[in-house]
């Protein structure tokens, strides 16, 4: 007991000493801490909303406490919530995997290219989609996919085939959403891998060349294994977001088109539609809680798997 108290006193002293000496550093970090508190940590505490019947007057922490009632409501109306969960997982699962595959491929190929101007020009073009908004992507999509005036249907009909109903057939939208995400993100994500590759020790490659290894062998036996830590870290970080639907993507591309909701309604758009637009907080708040919890559990779980596989690759 006494020991613990002494230890406590010691750490307290250390803290106060550190604050006395380094107070300017604490001050510098304060605005950022406050911002994280207001816009990230208090919303976590705000998940308490699942246990109450939210009213505007009562607010987040003063509305009537109803315990697990919202979950009852949620389970009795779960069709749409389950649909939203399914859509979010399907789209994000393929996004995470395919964006990584395309980005790594691009980075590896870029590394094989010697011409500087070629690299510069193609990189500039490949990054660009990252820097436009989903609304802009939405209008761009119209020039391709509009059912009457789009260039895709124009080409299809000129070949004598039936036009495709892009904006009324929901089942086309899983691949479309995934395609647009890859289009927008893969080129930019490839910089991170490319940056990692340029940092590798060239002596590995020199030795491999001396031993007569082909380029392809160098890619599969040196580049990809060395990239694994970067791939794993980025993968672990994205797993936490697997239940976080991108609302701006859906709004920009489909405008919440009711005909497409079957496959495009994700958890975030579901919360937006039910709670923010229509004021039905019960099921939205329940969805919100499991979105946060499951995302967290997934990160912990995948980190645990990675740790068992190789300690060094784990996040923590």
């Amino acid at each position: 007991m006494n020991n613990i108290r002494v230890d406590n006193m010691k750490t307290k002293k250390k803290w106060s000493k550190s604050i006395k000496e380094n107070w300017p550093l604490y001050v510098l970090s304060l605005p950022g801490l406050i911002a994280l508190l207001l816009f990230s940590y208090l919303p976590m505490a705000g998940l308490y909303i699942v246990f109450e019947r939210y009213t505007y007057q009562g607010g987040l922490f003063g509305s009537e406490f109803v315990g697990l009632k919202n979950f009852e409501f949620f389970f009795s109306n779960m069709d749409n919530a389950i649909r939203a969960t399914r859509n979010t997982i399907v789209v994000n699962f393929f996004n995470i995997i395919l964006i990584t595959v395309v980005a790594v491929t691009m980075a590896v190929m870029m590394n094989e290219i010697r011409s500087k101007w070629f690299k510069k020009i193609t990189q500039s073009v490949m990054f660009f989609p990252h820097f436009i908004s989903w609304v802009v992507v939405g209008t761009i999509a119209i020039t391709f996919l509009d059912e009457k005036k789009g260039i895709v249907n124009g080409t299809i009909t000129s070949l004598g085939l039936d036009p495709i109903a892009w904006y009324s057939n929901p089942w086309l939208w899983w691949p479309l959403l995934i395609f647009f995400s890859i289009w927008k993100a893969a080129g930019f994500n490839s910089i991170i891998y490319f940056a990692a590759i340029t940092g590798f020790d060239p002596s590995y490659y020199e030795a491999a060349t001396v031993d007569g290894a082909s380029k392809w062998q160098q890619v599969t036996k040196i580049t990809v294994p060395l990239l694994m830590p970067t791939i794993t870290i980025l993968f672990l970080l994205s797993v936490g977001g697997i239940l976080a639907g991108d609302i701006t993507q859906i709004l920009g591309l489909t405008n919440l088109n009711p005909m497409l909701l079957e496959t495009t309604d994700n958890i975030t758009t579901f919360v937006y539609r039910t709670a923010i637009q229509n004021g039905q907080f019960e099921s939205a708040s329940a969805v919100q809680l499991y979105q946060s919890l499951v995302g967290f559990i997934l990160v912990m779980f995948s980190n645990w798997v990675v740790k068992r596989y190789d300690e060094e690759y784990a996040l923590f």
Partner: protein, 299 residues
Amino acid sequence: MHIIKNDKLLIWFSYIVIVLFSLVCLIPFIMVVSASLSNDQEVALHGFSLIPRNITFYTYEFLFASKGALLLKAYGITIFTVVVGTLFSLAVTVSYAYVAANSDLKYASVLSFVAWFTMVFSGGLLPWYILTTKYYSLHNNLWALFIPYAINVFNMFLMRNFFKGIPKELSESAKIDGAGHFRIYFSIMIPLAQVGIVTIALFYALSYWNDFFLSLMLITDRNLYPVQLLLYNMMSNISYLTSGGGGADAYAQGMSQVIVPTMTARMALTCITIGPVILVYPFAQRFFVKGITIGAVKG
């Protein structure tokens, strides 16, 4: 010999794939530009094409004449957010990253953890929305367009890695010479971290320019619409073009026969929206590769 032949094949294959991917990234922009320069009726008849049909600036003339005031206002709002928001986020992020990079300080790892944790766990949209609008009163005012984006954790870590790359001896010798923390930060570290600061400044500027999440959630007053939200509303509601917003009727009276270019107007507006990004891009692009290469995410 055999190996060398395969190597050449791999390199050629790389060239081809990269060219194809670049074309896939580029062609959509050419489509939008040529659609905005096309004649609206031609588009209605024959559809969009890669090369503009009957090149005309009519759509732009129509937009500026009938929606000029609205566009100008939206541009003003967007430019305000980009400038003020970028400066604000930079101030908050760079200082936080500097302290988090200070490995002598135990508290630095606490800061990194606090930031990192928000990447794996979040309260989601609903509590965020209620807190922001009801408790912080960030609703229908200019503050709402940048305060919530004070710190982006990805940019913070990028910046932290930058500061970590600066040799410690520099700040230590300054300390021996009697410089205080603020002095070391403002007169030594900030100038040394310039490349990193410019990189994240560009990231912030572009994300403010492109953002329509905050305005969609927090702005309902038409007078505060930034460009992206205006574009979004014109997409979802073509009547936004033909009526309301003032100007259109006056413009209609001035001309004997007004054709509202419903298809091409969105495209022209899209070009007006991405125009500035294209202008800054060649300058900005150098920094992205350099900045990310130095500060690459190492966890």
